[in-house]
Symmetry: D2
Subunit: 285 residues, 4 copies
């Protein structure tokens, strides 16, 4: 397995940025596996992802910050470093439709998603067979209008001891409250919406798409913010439909889209390939 | 060249519809080339397109209505008949961007679009080279807020003697007034919108798409109704973009989409492949 | 659930075909739900699929042949009739890679695939967890060059009592012998090949694609004939790759393609939407 | 307009490569606009494209080689440098089908293709209207089996004084001889093949695709080598077809594919985004 470090940087653009970063890694005897960057001229913003082999790297990664901080300060960088060997801890939220849940668990098992999934939370009982199959604890917490605040408190209590790095809403049909969202740093919750956002925001997008008579339906994975269906988009895809397709056909065709579009987002997040700027994402693939 | 008749029917569903229609054509010695239908169970609506060879057809097509009307009345049909040899008369409206205009004229010349184009109307002068190249009269009518009513009157006066079957707005950047639209029967004006409707209705959709950070951009061809960008959708397609793409790149990528999506709509309209129901289209391809 | 009959016809084209078929159904009081047809002018071949509601149909479907045969003979038809309520009996063959198996079983459970799966046959043991999860008998029959004939005999013995309507090779990595294939009527075995056929016939198509440097990889579902990877193609799709993708990445991206392309083929087969002519398929969707 | 330099490098991978390159540019006061790289671990090959602003760059680009050569030698680089302001000189070869020709000339005029096109060579006369419209010299040189050697000699004589950087075969239906190909350095001739290579190599690929019954047709742009249809692939795309499509429909649908797939290849070549390794391309987009 790859034993590498990934450094993600955003800072004001200026001459010598690349040289400074590459020089730092070279002096510590790191062999670069991949480097990619993006320059947003409107914002004068420089975004970078660089990955290097740790085999002969001279710096103890536990002390990376101490060594890199002087460079970062001089160039006014926001940065974070991650290890490819780290396996993020992911909680999956799901409701009645279990196709995204089943898909994510399968991809974890094949190795496509290098993560831990310490728990699944659902407001329905039917996730149980998958929880059992993959041997992952499931917590069923029904949610009604009246019990929502209390239910969310129970969810937070369950999540806390697991030190969750990411919550994935895998067709979780409840809108998270602002209070819940604020318990996590920004960009720690990913949702799948079953439309090509910003078309068909809100409830029952397949019915909306059917009523409008569109010729393609889509799915969108995005980070959750306090504004419904408005967070930074990570991935989208579409599939062609025709007048022969009923709403039920759209739901069926949508399932394949949703599993693919959500799993890409989760994989890129795990692999530290996503950088945010404004309300948008850069995907360093 | 194919010498065939196309019959388009919509009516309440009932037993024996197919039998009655096919029996009528068979008794008149017509050989069916293609038949397709769609049943909308929610509306109990039957929609059909049937095309037959006229080689040995016993009915003079000028008198088709007289013969078919009894069948149509008995089954409460809305219907119309068209000849594949007929070449619809199309007026193209265009503004500054000429890629759709150039594309439509090229496709007419290759034979892909079997139509006449007796005139082009533009509010800019730069369509002139294409008008000259393809030897089609161009009328340049500038439009400002103040002169819009008068300009539209001039357009209508120019169109009238040509007995236009279809107006194609090939990136015509003016919104047609309700008064203008009402001069033509419904579904006689096709527009290309440079987004995946209903996302990014209105002005500057590429800028809107860029700002929202979508991962695909689209184009939509639709019939024009009195509500902006809300008419029945004929065709849509999308292309992938990334964070590397500027608004200018979106415009460039959009050009290919727009020419393809608009030309498909015009071709299907010419070939009598589009049936309307509610605010939606059936494409009999 | 829909209670309908589907009639599939192929015959030489001639006037009155449609009229005769629709008249037959109408006289027996059948309400047509959907009719589609295709005319191949090169072969003068007429292909048709018609589906009607059985609610008030006057003919006992067990005696349909007796009533329809005079029409069929007069018009020289090959035909077969099927009931939408019938659930075809499918055997799945699988080897080490289990993604198509897991996918097909999931789709059967959601109702997308209306079929029975009385047994799974594998030359590896690792299908067992899925067989257990979905409660389907699994037979593990290892295959080597030396034991192949004997193994195939065992497979045939296992299949016989189940009166299998279709064998699905869901990434079964053994080439079936001609002897085996001849035990079943034509077009009773569906395979998924992990390339865009006819590119990359044979073994290790992802490696072949990688070596050739293509920019898209594909998957193809097809009926099995005695010539390897040469049977009638049912469905194909592709996904974009780049120089960043290793062979392992192609395998991972291929998985999503393969499940989708195979499941569409199986669904269309179950729904009696596929008609064969020459070495090609018509899909009546 | 952008005034930048692009450096393309391939060399054995080793530590410090990135640092050395970025340090060189930084010391000469260059501001990097974009850097991308690819590491092929199987070949231990490092490939890089870096682009920087020349506004304040301290090195006279006419003497770039003198300054960079010591770095290049130390690290065993193959390299070349290009200016974004340079407009490559392209000759277009075309036969009877003119859609790619018309498309390339249109894109040059919109600015999408920043190049000069000093001449068009055709073995048919019907390119004349486009040559006239865009005011580019056309040379009509008929080719028969007997006159091929002589015709190619005339072509070479015509090309020589124009110091052509790239030949684009825009549906030129003659196979270039090995002698002709060897007159140009490798990767100076781009062809469009109207299939998804390596499927349907050789003549009449649409007929081949029709006969095989594929569900998608493709187009492939590639560099020309001495082996027919075997050179490094630059770009591919596909479009869905059905049993309704005749060979003529495939040809029509293919036209849109071919213009898009060829124009992308030409644009990437012009923008120095293509690096070769083995028989494959890296596209730095």
């Amino acid at each position: 397995m790859k034993n590498s470090a990934i450094l993600l940087i955003s800072c004001p653009d200026q001459k010598g940025l690349n040289a400074a970063i590459h020089d730092f890694i070279y002096r510590a005897n790191g062999n670069i596996l991949h480097a990619d960057e993006h320059l947003d001229p409107d914002r004068n913003l420089f975004l970078m992802r660089v990955e290097w082999d740790l085999a002969s790297f001279a710096i103890d990664m536990r002390e990376f910050g101490k060594h890199f901080q002087p460079v970062a300060e001089r160039l006014h960088m926001h940065w974070r470093v991650a290890l490819s060997s780290a396996r993020p801890r992911i909680a999956i939220f799901v409701s009645k439709y279990d196709h995204c849940l089943a898909d994510l668990l399968y991809r974890r098992q094949t190795g496509e998603l290098a993560c831990e999934i310490p728990l699944i939370i659902s407001n329905h009982a039917n996730a149980e067979r998958w929880a059992t199959f993959y041997n992952i604890p499931l917590h069923v917490i029904p949610v009604t209008k009246e019990t929502k605040a209390e239910a969310e408190q129970r969810q937070l209590d369950l999540l806390r001891p697991h030190e969750i790095d990411l919550i994935v809403l895998a067709r979780y049909m409840q809108v998270l409250s602002t209070d819940f969202i604020r318990q996590y740093p920004p960009h720690h919750i990913i949702n799948i919406h079953h439309s090509f956002l910003p078309a068909f925001i809100g409830a029952r997008p397949h019915q909306q798409a059917f009523d409008r008579g569109v010729k393609l339906i889509g799915a969108t994975s995005h980070y959750v913010t306090e504004v419904l269906d408005d967070g930074p988009i990570i991935e989208q895809d579409v599939v062609r439909i025709s007048h022969r397709d009923t709403v039920e056909d759209l739901i069926q065709k949508g399932r394949d889209l949703e599993t693919i579009v959500l799993s890409r987002a989760v994989r890129w997040h795990i692999q530290n390939r996503i950088l945010l700027y404004g309300n948008k994402t850069v995907i360093f693939d």
